[in-house]
Symmetry: C2
Subunit: 241 residues, 2 copies
Amino acid sequence: MKCIAVVMAMASEASPILTQLGAQAIPAIPLMPFKFFEADRNGCRVIVSVNGRDKRHGVDSIGTEAAALNTYVVARQYNPDLIITAGTAGGWMHRGAEIGDVYVSDQKFVHHDRRIAIPGFEEYGIGSYPAVPASGLAQALNLKLGTVTTSNSLDENDDDRRLIAKSGGVVKEMEAAAVAYVGEMLAIPVMALKAITDLVDHHTATADQFNANLLMASQRLAEKLLQVIDFCAPRSVADLG
Amino acid sequence: MKCIAVVMAMASEASPILTQLGAQAIPAIPLMPFKFFEADRNGCRVIVSVNGRDKRHGVDSIGTEAAALNTYVVARQYNPDLIITAGTAGGWMHRGAEIGDVYVSDQKFVHHDRRIAIPGFEEYGIGSYPAVPASGLAQALNLKLGTVTTSNSLDENDDDRRLIAKSGGVVKEMEAAAVAYVGEMLAIPVMALKAITDLVDHHTATADQFNANLLMASQRLAEKLLQVIDFCAPRSVADLG
């Protein structure tokens, strides 16, 4: 492929991969917080777009609205062959997850915080956008595979739990379904790569686990993301499954 | 003002105002579902942008991701002086709401389904984007005023209830905070105009109330929206308070 766009939410998540890629900052979009970086990897252009700092609140622009907008602008500007939504995520001990595991998206992207009990809208709320078939890539790079489920909350309440159980989600984060929603509209395939910072079914509070493991998980993510980019670059999207 | 953009989620909500404006369909953005319409009102250009039909699920593209993207593309294309997020909403009997009431946004736009228990991110999740001061407009046109609170669910669970009580939200819907988020980034003032289809604290299910009252509320919305546009057109944004 000629161009891969990597969409990331947090500066801390992006820092190690930007260093490893030797990526250079390039001009981004006026007024929007997104930060664009560019690198070349064996002739494949790699654009990393980070959601950036929210002006009002002074924190990284996490969540689905910023992710949808970032994906839209980077996809329109660079027309990538593949979009990778990369970052950190929660997993479940009862699903076999361990801190630092790196998952690649499998099957579909779903939302678990959009409950709209009207026929048609119910399914729209969940989303079910396709993930790039990537079982070959996962096997070659020793990555776990799982359905990624997205919400705008770091915690998980009973409604979330019910929807996650129904969809079979095994990787819980805050952006991927929004990236996949935009990717599908623009006819660009989407893959997620997510490193586990916290175990949802562990007794320690999610926020405490997240803060404790963010640096380590972001380094694990960078290591695997570089391998994923190098695996994808000489192949077509159809050759990742 | 020279241009007002009205962002709407559902075709049924938009139909009566498009008729009353005599609005004409104009070209929109390739691959995206948004539908643009244009009208002139006493020399003020009025752009109505409707979120449009989701290809995958065949329903209106409701919710915050579509609203953020629609607002972004219409604002970039037309650089309006004012963005109005218009549609239907829920209200509360204990706050004095009745079916068919039309509210204009007051003070701030908040989210009630973004729980991120990390300092700084907690406030980012809630949003608190400013609403255009519009007490003069509300008084002149006999509209109720209230804080608009947004989520991606039609229902309301205990977590939602807690956050709504904390913010003082009185109008509950699924797009406004996303529109206000984008408006603030692009430095364009945002106002909401919302007609009540359902009473959150009524014993009838929200979806049933919504379906029963959507047509009537959309007509009430169109009537008041036309008055709001005619009030705003000869004034500046600073003269609405």
